[in-house]
Symmetry: D2
Subunit: 134 residues, 4 copies
Amino acid sequence: MIESKSTIRVRYAETDMMGVVYHGSYLPWLEVARTDMFRNAGLSYFELEQKGYQLPVLSLDVKYHRPAVYDDEIEIAVILKERPLLRIHLEYELRRGDELIVTASTQHAFIDKAGNPSRPPAEFTDLMSQHFVP
Amino acid sequence: MIESKSTIRVRYAETDMMGVVYHGSYLPWLEVARTDMFRNAGLSYFELEQKGYQLPVLSLDVKYHRPAVYDDEIEIAVILKERPLLRIHLEYELRRGDELIVTASTQHAFIDKAGNPSRPPAEFTDLMSQHFVP
Amino acid sequence: MIESKSTIRVRYAETDMMGVVYHGSYLPWLEVARTDMFRNAGLSYFELEQKGYQLPVLSLDVKYHRPAVYDDEIEIAVILKERPLLRIHLEYELRRGDELIVTASTQHAFIDKAGNPSRPPAEFTDLMSQHFVP
Amino acid sequence: MIESKSTIRVRYAETDMMGVVYHGSYLPWLEVARTDMFRNAGLSYFELEQKGYQLPVLSLDVKYHRPAVYDDEIEIAVILKERPLLRIHLEYELRRGDELIVTASTQHAFIDKAGNPSRPPAEFTDLMSQHFVP
């Protein structure tokens, strides 16, 4: 299992006229949490991309429990529960203090520069081997 | 059943460094399609908000089948299949010509200005009665 | 002189908690107007990029006269007044009906794929010759 | 004079297909720097809004010197040089390490909930008196 926590503060730009955070503004935060998770685990997602690998979002689902508002500090926990083969499944919990704000999950798979499905790069497979004992 | 189709053209701002549309950029398009669906059915979502009703997104899921790219014309079909009681369930299909790009669904419920769950406004209930014969 | 007009309808995602359009949301509309201006003049900006040319924004300024709100139809007029040499200077006026909402200008210059300053591509120079008599 | 520094890390969502940060993505960062400046000086912009004051952007200009890229750490320095009367003029410098990336300025004025020009709230005037000796 790989777990990581990130904190963001809500930007004014991320709100909408409902007075709370726009529902689409949470997606970049999930991405911040993913990038941090990889970085904390010793892997730079940016370097993976420079080597020709990309890890697009194949699908996602989001449940909005309570609205976040401008200037809130939100903690995003991301968990990789199962060793990924071709599909990478990530789960997220967003909290303001003790309050659960949003839960989400995303599925990903590696592709190469041409956009074709690709085996994960060695750095990624090695990292998985460190965290998931057979 | 209520169906509606909208067309958008992909903006440069909606792409990311993967060279295709950013996965979060599709959410505002779903919203464009929802607003158009209500407008085509004779209901202004903006007026509903001005009367004190809001229709936030409670949950959503998105499946990314093929990437859209800058300058593409994308058709968004939105369908309300079942007469909503408190929950409104919408389904979306996004196409570039014949190609299916993205499928999605969103769930909504009316709230009042204080953010509490609310019965749908009369305009909405009337509209549903026109489209869903008992 | 090259002039072009585009119309957009304000999306919910483009508002903020002030209840009006977020000041940063106007920038993608300027871009829509630029793309349309080139398209109307027979030039596809997308094709220019695929041939290895890019036209980044070097600087911009925006004056906000009145706020646009959700669901407004906004007309964006873009004008290229002077034949560009290396710098391209564009001016914009955004209107809701007769009301002036925003005025803006942007400056651009061509760069190549490596990010170095580049002479404009032949398609662009030819287009300028058609519109600006010596 | 009031000065403040903030640091952000570039999000994937903030890039575009040019491979660098989208020119509009810098505007929310300026806002982060403004909010931090007020907070560091003991003033919560969020509380000012809750008391009925808003501080919209009246105009802005941005000069793009070098592109920022995904995962960069960018330091944003914001300076209020002159004691504001009705207009508040802020200047910004964005740096990646020693490299100057972007310079910008924004002008603001207080409005009330009805959108009419307003004198600054007492908290703001007091803060100015502390930092600008007559």
